[in-house]
Symmetry: C2
Subunit: 345 residues, 2 copies
Amino acid sequence: MTAAPTLKDVAERAGVSQATASRVLNGSARHVGDAYQERVHQAAADLGYSVNLSAQATARGTSSLIALLVADIADPYFGEIAHGVARGAEEAGLAVAVAETDRDPDKEAKLVRMFRGLRPFGLILAASRGADPAPELDQELAQFAAGGGQVVALGPGAGGYRAIHIDHLGGAIKLGRTLAGRGYRRAVLLAAPVGALSSDHRVAGFTQGFTEGGGVIAGLYRGGYTREDGYRLMAQLLVDGVAPGTLVVGVSDQVAVGALAALREAGREAGADIALAGFGDTSTGRDVTPALTTVHVPLGDLGYQAVRRAVDPGWAPDAPLDLAVVVRDSTPAVPAAPPAEGGPT
Amino acid sequence: MTAAPTLKDVAERAGVSQATASRVLNGSARHVGDAYQERVHQAAADLGYSVNLSAQATARGTSSLIALLVADIADPYFGEIAHGVARGAEEAGLAVAVAETDRDPDKEAKLVRMFRGLRPFGLILAASRGADPAPELDQELAQFAAGGGQVVALGPGAGGYRAIHIDHLGGAIKLGRTLAGRGYRRAVLLAAPVGALSSDHRVAGFTQGFTEGGGVIAGLYRGGYTREDGYRLMAQLLVDGVAPGTLVVGVSDQVAVGALAALREAGREAGADIALAGFGDTSTGRDVTPALTTVHVPLGDLGYQAVRRAVDPGWAPDAPLDLAVVVRDSTPAVPAAPPAEGGPT
DNA sequence: GAGTTGATGGCAAGCGCTTTCCGCCTGGTG
DNA sequence: CACCAGGCGGAAAGCGCTTGCCATCAACTC
């Protein structure tokens, strides 16, 4: 047998109608006599039948897929989100389709268009969206939603759609406060370009928290979210000159780790000399030396919740997700007397 | 409009038959007059039409999905594979569906069964398979293949199916030799349970290379592939006692990093005191201190090749993939005179 | 014992798309 | 000018599955 057995085959073998076989095998509200059930199951097992989900989706008008859009699946940040999504999907009996946007809005729109063809149950947008309007993307999303699809966006400015809010702003404020509280007075930010929403929120939040605590933002470099960006930006910063005692904050853990690498390569010491903090609390930062101070974001739970939300629009988490700052060795407490380096303001 | 527009809608609006609309929009061998093409495209754009891939799959009898099975998508090892798969899939115009096995053979079989329902074009098995026969899995795979699906397994013992071979054995031999060449004489292995194929190959390979080079395997602990496993195993090893100068080899970078954490916590110094090596060369090990010696596995390329193989069974890579050992600071060269610890047997 | 339920099997009409024919028209040939 | 080939649009028969509706029958009810 080179073609997969169909429902019809099963029905014939069991000596029942297709309708009955369908009701037995693929969950229906209608009850079927025990004897029939038995026969159908037996026939299905004998034939190695497996439902054709495409056909099922065509007939039912809805599929059992959930689509996930991430910037880069190899990035632990998105990897953990995907992990949570996979968990939620499995629980809901859904399969997950994933694609990478490379943070390119055009590509993102293109992918949404292709996903739209899959008629997935829901669409989870985890790729950092920019603040700029993206007309094509918005149009695709609108059409997807018009067709009955659930779109849930993960992140801050998720306009219009169902959203799992991630309080980057609040988390960053806490980070700023905490670090100012530890005695830091000068900070340099390594961020993504203006318009990258989560970056913008983190920058704004940190700035607010840090200045409230008496600190000063002494510099702001822009690149992206990756380790390479962090490395490059830090190298530049080193060229421009950084005073010891300065705190360098990366827009993501990856960036901070990249900065750490640049620092080490330049012979400077992270921690006591130049302090370092990141954002996200991905596995990346836990094992470097010094261990990275960061803001914990419950990425996996977020992904899980996104699926729940897509499956059941009314669903809400028991407790809102909290971003907590995690202080580690990369930001040692600054000794009482500040080095009189940069005066405030 | 709350229901997505269908081909019929487009055809009507364009004033042509469904057949013509189909030919214009969804690639067909047949040519259609320019005027008609124009009208159809226009109508499709006006309506925001997007093909229903499920229906298309039903009609064509084949879908545009490629399925990927990994142990844990949040693990960078699999994240990088998935990244490569995503790249290949995009190139081929395929969507990728992914699921996590948690390294549980039963779950794996269950997932293959569900994927089978999706009638994907191909199925890529990246989750570490055990050496033990897994009858249910094999049966599912056989049935999938019988239905015309391409299954390509990533890894060592990929019996029966199209496989992208990963030469764990060869890579590990090189690692063993290299490290023996650097002067190490005693090694302890932190591995996964017997039967975990890639672990077995790595253990065997390292043992061979290392003993050939004059080293001795002084211990073999078994846990798993994760950071936690590494941490736990190393803690145990520490309790059991390890002589300075010993080399600890983790079955994966994750394990090695976990071991590093345990080491640090116990106040021992990685590198000069206890040397450390991993396997895989995932981002994990690059930025820890000391940086981790490991075997580079081109995970992304592997994933990419798997897709190519699935799409075109005849395809073969230009050059076979090579595993190279990457020596970093976690295995400093041992000074000439060995510490007379464990005599070679 | 006729009438009423309620449970359950089957028929057949879709779901949206592809693809095989079929027929028409244009154009080239001798 | 009769004829044939080739190009192209359309009608319609599926693809595998679901589900509304009807038929049947056993169990009750008065």
